[in-house]
């Protein structure tokens, strides 16, 4: 048992070495093939996904099947050229039918795609099952066009892939501007005199090229994975078209190499699904772990912001509580704060601890532990100025909205509740200048002034006259 395990491990290492040293001729063919394929599909996918036409690629890849069958029937052999020509024609017919359906009928785009996809595919299946019953049909597993089989990749196939990949790279570089403009703003493209429909067909032709040459590796059914997934991953990494295309091509290549390596490890492992799943895995990794746009870091940043807002709201509640007592005391009870913040006592206690940790307040615990709501809190100088700042932002903004923007006084609170956390010093000073250093907000409450913040308390005379 143990020996078998060791043997397995040695086998794994030697296979890994064999794969990545590229010494084997068959490995060279395969790796070259998947690199060409990943690059071509990745680039085309970038264009297709940004045009919101991901499923067009899926339809096209199914629609080429009858063409593959007819091409096979024509040459009666697995001759690449006639199969590629047949597939091109079928793909074009499919695209043409979709646009015709959209132009002349009320059938919606998704139904049109579904009709062409399933209809052409079924026709292809009929032809293939018919061919298998004929004399020459058995000579090659034409089935491999459905699921792909990388080990059968011939020299000629890799040449075809390489040529189509180079064509795609060349054409997308030369016509980059035209493709970009027609992809994002058709009206503008038309107005500067670009033949939008022609360019669209041109794009489908390139797409058909990359789909057809990838068929033998991943099969009809998973080409769309190669088109969509790397491009979708790239669209999470970047918003710029040029780097999106580069990322998409790179991810396509990486997924291709890793997927074919994995399928090289076992004897029964199909290449197409493994390449597709590798790109899905890359997508999931990027989706969660990308430093800028990853959900994990985004979530962490969001939580940091939420905590800051909660803290500021508590400080504001402390101020309001002090104000409610007309600043006669400098401590507030946690129970009252919890009521004001509409949170539970344990949550309030946590908030108080946060405040203490940030040096914003001092907690004066009561001796009787059964009465947590009797604990009192008093603000430190920094806490006081922070609390004043928030309240000032809030009330200034309310006044600004009523006086300058003509909001009704009972409509301004919600807005101020949000903006108080993000107003910068400069904006505050500007608003103060516009409103000429006001002291009362629309609800008649005191707006703490810069002086109040600096001296650390509200003047007794003012506090006494508070409403």
């Amino acid at each position: 048992m143990e020996a078998a395990q060791v043997n397995d491990e040695v086998n794994l290492i030697s296979k890994t070495y064999r794969f990545f040293s590229f010494a084997d001729y068959s490995v060279q063919v395969v790796v070259l093939g998947v690199i060409f394929m990943g690059m071509g599909c990745g680039l085309m996918g970038g264009f297709v996904v940004t045009r919101k036409l991901s499923l067009f690629g899926d339809t096209l890849s199914h629609a080429v099947l009858p063409g593959v069958a007819v091409g096979f029937l024509w040459s009666q052999s697995k001759n690449s050229i006639s199969i590629i020509v047949g597939a091109m024609i079928a793909g074009f017919l499919g695209v043409f039918l979709i646009s015709l359906l959209k132009k002349t009928t009320k059938v919606s785009l998704d139904s049109a795609l579904g009709l062409v996809l399933s209809g052409f595919y079924a026709l292809g299946i009929c032809l293939l099952t018919r061919i298998q019953k004929m004399e020459f049909g058995n000579q090659s597993g034409i089935d491999r066009y459905l699921f792909g089989q990388i080990t059968g990749l011939s020299n000629q196939d890799v040449w075809a892939m390489g040529i189509s990949c180079i064509l795609i790279v060349l054409i997308t570089t030369i016509f980059y501007k035209e493709l970009l403009v027609t992809g994002f703003d058709q009206g503008f493209a038309r107005s500067i005199g670009l033949p939008v429909d022609l360019i669209q067909y041109f794009l489908w032709m390139l797409l058909a090229f990359s789909v057809i040459t990838s068929l033998q590796v991943v099969g009809v059914l998973l080409v769309s994975a190669l088109l969509i997934i790397p491009a979708a991953t790239a669209s999470i990494i970047t918003q710029k078209m040029r780097s999106l295309l580069l990322w998409s091509a790179l991810l396509g290549m990486v997924a291709g190499v890793i997927g074919s390596y994995l399928s090289f490890l076992g004897s029964q492992l199909p290449t197409g699904p493994l390449i597709a799943l590798t790109s899905t895995l890359l997508f999931i990794l990027v989706l969660f772990l990308h430093p800028e746009n990853g959900l994990l870091f985004k979530g962490l940043r969001l939580r940091g912001k939420e905590r800051k807002i909660a803290l500021e709201n508590t400080l504001k509640a402390v101020y309001q509580e002090l104000e409610w007592n007309k600043f006669s005391r400098d401590t507030v009870r946690l129970g009252n704060l919890a009521k004001r913040r509409r949170i539970s006592m344990p949550e309030m206690y946590q908030e108080a601890i946060h405040l203490v940790n940030k040096d914003f307040a001092f907690l004066l615990p009561v001796k009787d532990k059964t009465l947590p709501s009797e604990n009192t809190l008093s603000l430190s100088p920094t806490g006081w100025s922070e609390a004043c700042r928030i309240v000032r932002n809030h009330r200034l903004w309310e006044l600004y909205l009523t006086n300058e923007v003509q909001y009704a006084a009972d409509h301004v609170h919600e807005d101020a509740e949000k903006i108080e956390h993000v107003l910068g010093d400069e904006t505050v000073r500007k608003i103060e200048r516009i409103l000429s250093n006001p002291r009362t907000d629309p609800h008649g409450k005191l707006i703490p002034s810069q002086q109040d913040i600096e001296q650390g308390y509200i003047d007794k005379m003012i506090a006494k006259n508070l409403p």
Partner: protein
């Protein structure tokens, strides 16, 4: 080319399948299976197309594959119930993933859909190829099905009386369930399909009905995947109602059209496949495609010829 199209032997194609009692029983099961698959798909598909969810149907039918594979691996049989649980689980997970990606990430709907179902499908294919050579479930069979095997499946007995083969019974049951669901929930389905605002104001939960529909779709796919395969299910979902919509605009008429159309598809596909000796399910879709082409050409609503000769051009048309 002559080799490809064998001469049409009229009696062998059209008469021989029904000549003896044994042949009749055998072939009637195949045609009956075809009728019921296309009928149940056509009925549910009318609503799916009306909701512009045709590609969601595509996605779900691909997405259930890993569920089927896992159910098969854990139970080592293709009994309907575990398969059904697996398929529904995977189908719902698939539609949740699509919605989540659409809402929580910058991905557009089409990319979210394409990404999810291709990944699910790839996982399904990988699992199935790892199950070894099994006659009941192999990837090709799942994809284009083999309706011709219907009479070969084990029979189900009521006491000692044989009541039919398993796939035929399960699809029959599903067809009944679908017809019942549509009659009972017709109003709700219509309102949520065509006017979401109204349905919200009537207190109907659009989400519940959406997921209910997806569930019925998953059941239909499970019951038919053995015979027509997951991809041809999509064809049967879309073709009947879009074909009928060239003649009728009202939902009840479109739903009723599914009945004659599914009978025609099945017989037509059966004879075509018998003549050319090819996949029956594929031939059914080819027949459906031909029907669609004819309807497109001749249809009274937006048909090509009608538009050419009879349509009154209005200002609105020109502005479009």
């Amino acid at each position: 080319m002559t080799e490809f199209f064998p001469p049409l032997d009229f009696s062998d194609t059209f008469w021989a399948p029904w000549a003896t009692q044994k042949d009749f029983a055998w072939n009637a099961q195949i045609v009956g299976m075809g009728i019921m698959v296309s009928l149940s798909c056509g009925l549910i598909g009318s609503f799916i197309v009306a909701r512009k969810l045709a590609l969601m149907g595509d996605a779900i039918s691909h997405g259930i594959l890993p569920g089927l594979a896992i159910a098969f691996i854990t139970t080592q049989s293709n009994a309907l119930f575990p398969m059904f649980i697996g398929a529904c689980g995977a189908g719902l997970l698939c539609s949740f993933c699509i919605e989540w990606l659409h809402k929580k990430t910058p991905l557009k709907m089409d990319a979210a859909l394409g990404l999810t179902f291709t990944s699910f499908f790839a996982l399904g294919v990988l699992l199935i190829t790892q199950m070894g050579n099994n006659t009941h479930i192999d990837p090709e069979c799942l994809l284009y099905g083999e309706i011709g095997f219907t009479p070969l499946a084990e029979s189900i007995y009521w006491g000692s009386v044989e009541i039919g083969s398993r796939p035929l019974l399960s699809i029959g049951l599903v067809t009944l369930v679908i017809i019942l669901t549509i009659t009972v929930f017709y109003k709700q389905l219509m309102v949520t399909s065509f006017d979401q605002t109204l349905s919200v104001s009537l207190g109907l939960s659009v989400r519940t009905i959406h997921y209910g529909l997806m569930l019925v779709l998953a059941i239909t796919i499970v019951a038919s995947f053995e015979s027509v395969g997951v991809i041809l299910v999509i064809a049967m979902l879309i073709f009947p109602s879009t074909t009928a919509s060239f003649f009728f605009t009202r939902m009840p008429a479109i739903l009723l059209c599914s009945f004659p159309l599914s009978i025609f598809y099945s017989f037509g596909g059966f004879f075509l496949a018998r003549w050319l000796d090819c996949s029956i399910a594929g031939s059914m879709v080819v027949v459906a495609m031909v029907c669609f082409g004819i309807a497109w050409l001749l249809g009274t609503e937006n048909g090509i010829l009608t538009n050419l000769f009879f349509r009154k051009r209005t200002i609105l048309d020109h502005s479009n």
